[in-house]
Amino acid sequence: MRRTVLRNVGIPLLSIALLLLLWEGIVVVFDVKAYIAPRPLAAIQAVTDNWGLLWPLILGTIRETIYGFFYGSLLGFGFAVIMSKVPFLHRMIYPVLVLSQGVPIIALGAPLVLILGFGVTPKIVIVAWIVFFPVTVNTLAGLSHVDQDLLNLARVYGASRWRTFWQIEIPASTTPLFAGLKIGATYAVTGAIIGELASSSSSGESLALYQQHENSNFSTAGVYGVTMVMTVIGISWFLLAVGTEVLATPWQRRSVARRSWRRRDDTVTDSSKVH
């Protein structure tokens, strides 16, 4: 157990550390000027020095990401369910969804500001706009590939469509559903930053504009530092999606179920023998 944790967490951390070391090495060996690229530590220091200023902006970006991801994945899931159940709506909605992804996201800012103002809403819309699509496409693929024999078996047993959906179709689609959520999670923070660039009014308001502000002040370390902050938010969000999948799909990792917290009947004494 401890070995697997070491392997799964230690090795990725080591490769990130090596990457930072490589960055440090390049800056030192090639004598890169500080206004082009700072040393990693300088970039990190630019973040910690301005933490009081940055923290509310970070929280703002995280909030946009959370709301946008939540609404986007809910919408994406809803589209997938509707399209898998009603072929007519599938033919009608799908082209529109594809079209929506053809719109350059950055160009979406201006009209959204006209409609929704400069607040947090246009950013949330942009995140949701990016997140819903991979969720829809993957969930739809999952829902349309549920084993037909299993669905027939449910029919033989007289299952209602509702129960078949929740008991069979949804759990059978968890792998593609989470694949969509993981892709959506990696895009979500990018969407939030694009949203901030495309629909913010002043530099005090968002992480993306703070970075532009640092750039125009020739604070290279600050520019790199904010980029690192954005990356950390993005990775955390992805890891959260991975963690949720791991918790939600115990059968993919375990041979034997843990004792369920829902049931108190402990009559299953003979199961302890096989551990």
Partner: protein, 252 residues
């Protein structure tokens, strides 16, 4: 319909486009009996099953189960295929109670019954296992337990052991006979395997393809309980010769 019959099929026929999958067929199945259906691919065995299970609406004819005409309606029989169709996300116990879960709330009685049959027939240690941790034979046992706890008097088994190796299949056949004897259900059992059809059944229906129809209805006189020695019994061999002759039209 004789009072001893559980299932009566009256002139049931089914075509798909211009292909006649099942010619008008009539059949009575006695309550508590074990009837094997043997025939090559495309002889309409599975069509017949799907009509009885209520998955397919026949073009004409009626299916009567006990006192009720059930043509084209589902929810009356236990049904099992060569594919075990276990849900990978459910434990063995939860897979066994699947039919209940699909129609209503699963009660503690359902779970207790699932554990009871599982323990009785050699699955007790695996109740909390996920299906991927089990061997093919074990998975088919779980699938059969799931079929059994539905409490339906009629069980339709469509080549349930077809994907197992010969050794496991023989074990499973003996296991199935044991469960069948205790559970007192009526079994309709589709198979490709002539030996299997004779070893298990009270009666063998032989089907032929294009168009699918029953060409022989043979009583199996072998005594029960049956052990593997039966496979070389002269009665067994005679019956096997007759069935092979029917299936291969004289070149056997």
């Amino acid at each position: 319909m004789s009072p001893n019959d559980l299932l009566q099929i009256r002139d049931v026929g089914k075509s798909f486009g211009t292909t006649v999958a099942l010619e008008p067929t009539s059949l009575n199945i006695e309550d508590g009996s074990f009837v094997a259906i043997v025939g090559p691919s495309g002889c309409g065995k599975s069509t017949l099953f799907n009509v009885i299970a209520g998955l397919l609406q026949p073009d004409f004819g009626e299916v009567q189960l006990a006192d009720e005409v059930v043509t084209g309606t589902a929810g009356h029989v236990g049904y099992m295929l060569q594919k075990d169709l276990l849900m990978p996300w459910r434990t063995v116990e939860d897979n066994i109670t699947m039919a209940a879960r699909l129609t209503r709330r699963v009660t503690n009685d359902d779970r207790a019954e699932a554990r009871r049959v599982a323990r009785q027939y050699g699955l007790g240690e695996f109740l909390r296992h996920y299906p991927h941790a089990l061997s093919g034979g074990m998975r088919q046992r779980v699938a059969f337990m799931r079929t059994l706890v539905t409490q339906h008097p009629l069980l339709l088994l469509d080549e349930p052991f077809g994907a197992l190796d010969a050794q496991t299949r023989l074990e499973m056949q003996q296991w199935l006979l044991q469960v069948w004897k205790d559970a007192k259900r009526t079994v309709l059992f589709i198979t490709h395997d002539v030996d299997e059809s004779i070893f298990l059944s009270d009666r063998v229906l032989v089907m032929s393809p294009r168009p699918g129809r029953i060409i022989a209805d043979l009583v199996n006189p072998l005594e029960r309980p049956r052990v593997t020695d039966v496979l070389t019994d002269p009665i067994f061999v005679d019956l096997k010769r007759e069935i092979l002759h029917l299936l291969h039209g004289g070149d056997a």
